[in-house]
Amino acid sequence: MKRNNSFRSALTGLAACIFLFSCSSENDSKEEITPDDTLPKNETWVIYNGAANWSGGIYALKDNKSREINLAGLPFLQVASSLGGRNLGDMLYKVNDVTNTKQGINRMGIDATGKIVDLGFLPSQSNAYETNFLVASATEGFYWDKVRGGLKLQKFNPTTMERTGEIDFSSLSEGQPLESIGQLIIAKRDDKLYLDLLCGTKEGNNWQVTPPVKEVAIAVYNLTTNKIENVTRIGGTTNLGVFIDHVLWSLDEVTKDLYFATVGDMKTQPTDYSSKILRIKSGQTTFDTEFELDIKSYQFPAEFNRLFAYNNKIYTTIPSRAVSYYGGGQHGVKYRSDVWYWNEIDVATKKATRLDMPADNFYTTQNPFFHNGEIYFLSNNTSEGFSGVMQYNPATKVTKETFRLKESGRIQGFNIITN
């Protein structure tokens, strides 16, 4: 064979390869979390973090909890959409499977080694982003599946993740092209279900249903008698709820009053049918016509997009400026700004008090929750570089930072599980 002296060329190529593929100068070593001994030992924190495309992981921290958490190096369950935060005991539930391609309800838990694991999936027959659900107990759950019937509420077992039947609300049909029961609100108080009844039409490029009569309706179903007890309606607003994995109802555990948020038509944001917080008082099956919180009293145009009620106080966000989800220009950017301030609103006086915590930008949708005397709030704030959880003591009015993530993505969900 005819040979050339190519040794030098080979060396040059090798050197180029080494240069190209050499390790980054950045330190790839995993940062150890320094546990904070003042944090409760008997609690496991479940943290959902997310990247810009909403993908991320679900992490469980028990002995390694701290006030500043770097999730790098910790085991996690990878999910394509990490919006989460619903749990029943030590079971976690979220909309859609881990790939976020299958519509339905996913169940996750913590294994013996303390890692979050995928435990089962109940698929919807519908292929749209519309599987609202409620886990009422370990054996009782409800969900909505349009393909199985818009006016039928599906029942499932949250432990076996099997469908167990359905409740037929076809008698409530108004003959509208789009009719649903429980598409955005499935609430349970005592032995009754409170479900949004939504009938209307939807233009091709609209996301929300437009009702023929500008009102909202809640159907009350008695699970003991298996009968529809009432359909209560109230005017002056439209569209109960917003996204399926972001419920806009809350049961005040102290007063047993049930609150709902409407968002109105988020496209046109009409002043006469603005976003409101409504109430069905304890023991009642009709809207409390004496009560409403109107977003116009606090900011407008805007919507109530978070809701938690505790001891006659409403905890929600109120933006510091007018906002529009559908606003022109760069869609979503202006709405998802650091403008959503957490507020406590007294249901009697309707006075809002801004809480001392970083404004949120609505990249997470989880509602606040009560645990061990404290109410926990999630915030992502780009300008302050904050992604974390704040806690507020409604008795002492003291606010403090529970933890913040350190360069670990946005926080998109948080649960506390008591071991």
Binding site: M1, K2, N4, S6, G13, A16, C17, L20, F21, E26, D28, K30, A51, A52, N53, S55, G56, G57, N70, L71, A72, P75, F76, L77, Q78, V98, T99, T101, G104, I116, V117, D118, F121, L122, P123, Q125, N127, Y129, K146, V147, Q154, F156, R163, P177, K202, E203, G204, N205, K267, T268, Q269, G328, G329, H331, G332, N380, T382, L405, S408, G409
Partner: protein, 794 residues
Amino acid sequence: MITRITFLFIALFGWCLAHACPVSINVQDKNGKPISGITLLINSKILAVSSSSGVVQLDLDEGNHSIELVKDNQTLLKEALVVTCGQKNHFTYHIPVYIEKSDKLNEVVIHNKSIKQEIEESPFSVSVIDFKKQYDKAGDVGDYLNRASGVKLRTDGNIGSAVQINLGGLQGKAVRIFKDGIPIELFGHGFSLGTIPLNMLDRVEIYKGVMPIYLASDALGGGINLVTRTSNKNFCEASYELVSFNTHRATVNFFLQNKNNFYGGINGTFNYSDNNYKVNVPIQNDAAVEEYSDVKRFHDMTRSKYVEAFIGLKDKTWADDLRFTLIYSDFYKQIQNDANMVNVYGKPFSYETNFTGMVHYKKRFFDDKLKVNLLTNYSHFNTKFIDTATVRYNWKGAIIAENMQPGEIRAGNNQHLHYDFVSSRLNAEYELSDYNFLEFSELYYYQRRKGSDPLGAVSVIENVDVLTIPATYQKNNLALAWRSLWQNTRLESILAAKFYQYQTEGFTTDNYGFAWKSSKNDQQFGYLGALKWQKESTLLKLSYEYATRLPDEFEIFGDARMVKENLDLNPEKSHNVNLNGQYTLTQANSSVTFSANLFYRKVKDIIFLQLDIPFNRYINYEKSNIKGLEIETNYIVNKWLTTGFNMTYQDIRRVGIEESAFKYLNDSRVPNIPYLFGNLWVNTTFTSIFNKTDQVNFTWNANYTHRFFLVPIPKSQEPGLFEPVKEFQTSLIIPKDGRLGQFSNDLGLYYHFADKKTTLSAECRNVGNVKLYDNFNVQRPGRSFHFKIVYQLF
């Protein structure tokens, strides 16, 4: 702009200069050194004497000639010379033992460089797949591109499904595809990587990272040029291929030319497939528990037709070649599932018809110093996208719900669109001297869309169907280059500047449902440099381009339905560097060629689809660095056995994340892009099986694609290349069944009859019936059988 091009075209059209079919002859010794003073006799007439560079330029009629090289009344060589107008007639004659004033001559070796060689020896990082000897092979062009070094094609299924190309770590719109230099989208889906059989093409040119001047375009990561099959002699060939899944493919290529150099021909192809291959999918029982079973796809039928008819004149005083082409194509496709093969559909379909007219003019001026090549076309498309069903299906094809809202895929579509396209490409090269050339190229592109969709985006206030408002998009790409040859052509350099400009106008809607027109324009400069050094068996190249990809109309305006507009969108930009090396070891009947390409890309302002509810939108978001290595070895063992392999590794990583929350993804691998893949092949040739002149070929091709992840993983938790995933639980991995990679084999057997007119082929693809995925969860066909006959009538 159209006026300007028309004027130029008319001017060139009337410019009648010398009648010529240019031929370039190089006379060199065995070391490649030019030999001067050699007298050239063509058809026994003395025509020229070789210059100091050993080069002779002359004009010859097309056809057979005899060439004689004479020195000191001694004939050094006498051979036949075939001149084919319309192709590069560059001939190099090597005289291995040439002794001045000697009467000894031991050996004469003649090399006529093929176009493939010429392109591959250009300073750019380029591969050429020559199909001239591949017309017996089954499948489409995509199958063969996938076997090329550094190229990864990803499909959503079988014939007619969407195909995405990854080239040098960049993919999607970053890689531009052309047919004869014209953007391929102007020819419709009937002519696409997923539908075109090899018999329609002469070759494919794959430009990695740095685009040649003649393909001036806003390509961020390179481009692929499909060169249509043509001929210089009368011929007619037909092929028919029968494939699994009720697939039928046929082609016809026909060419006639008379003595006055008037020619005409037809190239056509027809594809039909039920695409009913089996997939393993879940079907819900009454308890909503998913039970997996193998079912046949039932709504994926695809049918496409593509016919181009052309007439032309060659070798006239006023044109080297003038060709008029008319094209008709259509494409019908049923839609079986969504992009993740989760949601199943039973009714939606798309249909498209395309009419194109094209004029191609080539001419050399000023003693062949100026070469001009102009290609202009106009296309009209009608497209339908129909999704109005009110029923819903499961994977068994059974209806599971009725009286639903129209639309299985989204909220229904009854979309009819009409597109008008104008595209024009002008290439000119001027020879400043034997070693210096100026090259200019311009690509002009205009698109206008108008249509309707009563179920689509309608503005609330005026009740306007936004698709009825015309949307236009126009871009203009210019390139000017200086190409030089040094060291007796051993070294070649190119320096070029590029200019990109676009403007678009379309609809958008605000939060009150108003639809209004808005516009956007932008411009960008780019530049490139390339060097090539070649000596005997060694070829080295270094190339660099500051590349740009302009946002298109859809990225700017969206569809007013699922994707919102973003008028602040900027072009994507990238610094692309390639270092190529090739070395060949040769022996009497065997040779080994080693080639390697190191590449680097530094990309910014990557256009990224930001998912949100209810609308998504495109934003300039990411920066990434890409470092990659491609290696390939071709070993010709002997005249009946060849083998080889290639391997590509590309390390594509996010960099420069400034938002503190996302810094944990700095240096993470950009997800959902294969980063390690390769091919292995063995080809054998046996002759004289049943007859002295018949031939049998046997081929084995294997493809490997390493696993890759669907969503980003922090680098600190990234598993090693061949390690299992340990630190986290995931099913967002391709393939998600625990394999480290996907390995598939194809076998082929080809029999060439002694009459040289007929070929019979049998192939088995995916012999092991392995589950293959290019995209997450989207199952590709299992084992398939292909039978093909190619018959050359004349």
